[in-house]
């Protein structure tokens, strides 16, 4: 993968929503080209980390920077694939994908060419005149993937992008994501609650504690070779070892979060 610099850096970052402290004192950096998985219990603020890097939510304290520049306002270097459907429902598949290049100053002809190329790469050839409501969930995710990748941005943020898919479609999409990522060499921040998915895809896993005041609980290297097959990776030596280490820590956090919820419910 490209470079050797730091793509994403968070220094002592805190984030509050009103009086609710979502994140506190988060520090980590991601080298260029790394595939980083962010895991943690539900509601721990994983998505908030992506919003910080995307520039959609300003940090309440600390510093967020990408490519050495501090993030202020929408981050023009980051592509963001959302958990929920975020395709523009009133635009056709083609119009959805060419929107990015068009907004970034490409001519319509250029943008159309790029969009068709990427629709082909994600296996949506010949579907360009459909509207999102005419597609299946998996097809919509493919279009969303083309839509965020077509801009060829150095940072790719993904928030549980495949969580709504069935297991087979999901494995297929994960594999395609890995292929495209290796081709692009982008730095990926991939949020998921699925530990297996996190390890199978990534070079490194960061574990968050349960919120509020979520912090980093652990940071694990994933020593699996590349290129990788996401299904086979689950049976490789080393997979289980990482899995057990992360799970041991994650379990504590899940239990802690569960206990907190119960005590809140009891009040």
């Amino acid at each position: 993968m490209a470079g050797g610099g730091t793509a994403v850096q968070l220094e002592a970052v805190g984030l509050r929503y009103g009086s609710f402290p979502a994140l506190e004192d988060i520090t980590f950096s991601v080298p260029e080209g790394q595939f980083l998985a962010v895991v943690g219990p539900t509601g721990c603020g994983k998505s908030s980390v992506l919003n910080l890097v995307a520039g959609l939510a300003p940090a309440s304290s600390g510093r967020v920077s990408t490519g050495g520049r501090p993030v202020s306002g929408v981050n023009r270097d980051a592509a963001y694939m959302f958990q929920a459907d975020a395709l523009l429902p009133w635009k056709s598949v083609l119009e959805n994908v060419l929107l990015g290049p068009l907004l970034r100053g490409a001519s319509r002809a250029q943008a159309t060419g790029l969009a068709l190329d990427w629709l082909g790469r994600v296996g949506m050839h010949g579907m360009d005149q459909r509207y999102p409501h005419q597609l299946s969930g998996g097809q919509r995710k493919r279009v969303a993937m083309a839509q965020v990748l077509v801009n060829r941005l150095p940072i790719l943020l993904m928030d549980e992008p495949f969580s709504a898919l069935d297991a087979q479609t999901r494995a297929l999409m994960e594999q395609e994501l890995l292929g495209l990522w290796q081709e692009l060499g982008a730095t990926v921040l991939f949020v998921t609650h699925d530990l297996e998915e996190a390890i199978a895809l990534s070079d490194r896993v960061i574990l968050f504690t349960s919120g509020p005041r979520a912090a980093i609980k652990g940071d694990y290297e994933v020593p699996l070779p590349r290129p990788r097959n996401v299904v086979e990776a689950r049976f490789m030596p080393g997979f289980n070892e990482v899995y057990e280490r992360v799970w041991a820590d994650l379990r504590d956090e899940v239990m802690a979060g569960y206990a907190r919820q119960r005590s809140e419910a009891a009040r």
């Binding site: 929408v74 023009r76 963001y80 959302f82 975020a86 523009l88 929107l99 907004l103 801009n151």
Partner: protein, 270 residues
Amino acid sequence: MSGRGRLRLPVLGVQIGILVVVIGFWELGRRVTVGEDRFLVDPFFWSRPSRILARDLQWLQDGTIARNAGVTLYEAAAAFVLGVAAGVVVGFLLGRSDFWARVFSPYIQVANALPRLIFAPILILIFGLDERSKIALGFSLVFFIVFFNAFQGVRDVDRNVLNNARMLGAGEGQLTRHVLLPSAMSWILTSLHTSVGFAMVGAVVGEFIGASRGLGYVIARADGNLDATGVWAGMAVLCVVVVVVELAITRIESRLVRWKPQPAGELLAA
């Protein structure tokens, strides 16, 4: 879809049946007397379908319909266009600004709660007996409907879609064009159906109160002469005009919102 196709013939059959029964009752009801000397359906008030039809045909021939429906349509169309344009623009501006939305909120609520038909006489005083007073009345009705829908449409934008467009590189102006306008469009289009109706109401009521031309004037004149047939004949013309205009709007709507899934139960629209 298949269910609707299967039901189509029975539904049409019953619809025609209801029409035949109502018209038949209306036509023949005067032959049935109740009590001493009262008709079941008194033709003095209700006239008769055959006479109404004859009157309409006569009006069609002597140009009464063409002359007056044209005026009413012109007034309604002008009120509609102006009201929609103003409603969309103001709805958008307030929808985008929390501050101004709060400032104007009580005034808009009060203005909307007023029965604006009350203003018809004043509008006729201000603008005169000609078309302008009817356009003003229709405008005051249409504006609020479209305004509320445009406002809600802008407020209702999916945050994910909005953020997605931002991340793809959209600035404020581009967000309006690619996200806010199309999102609000379905709300605005829904309001157009209601608005067309109200534009007609504005025109006809305005004419009814004071005019020398238009369908409302025709009805008011017949009413003044205790001519029930004329009143009903005027209403029949009005019905036909409104149905035709509604169909046109539906056509435009289906072209503009091709992206939307067909709602499962569009029972009343078909």
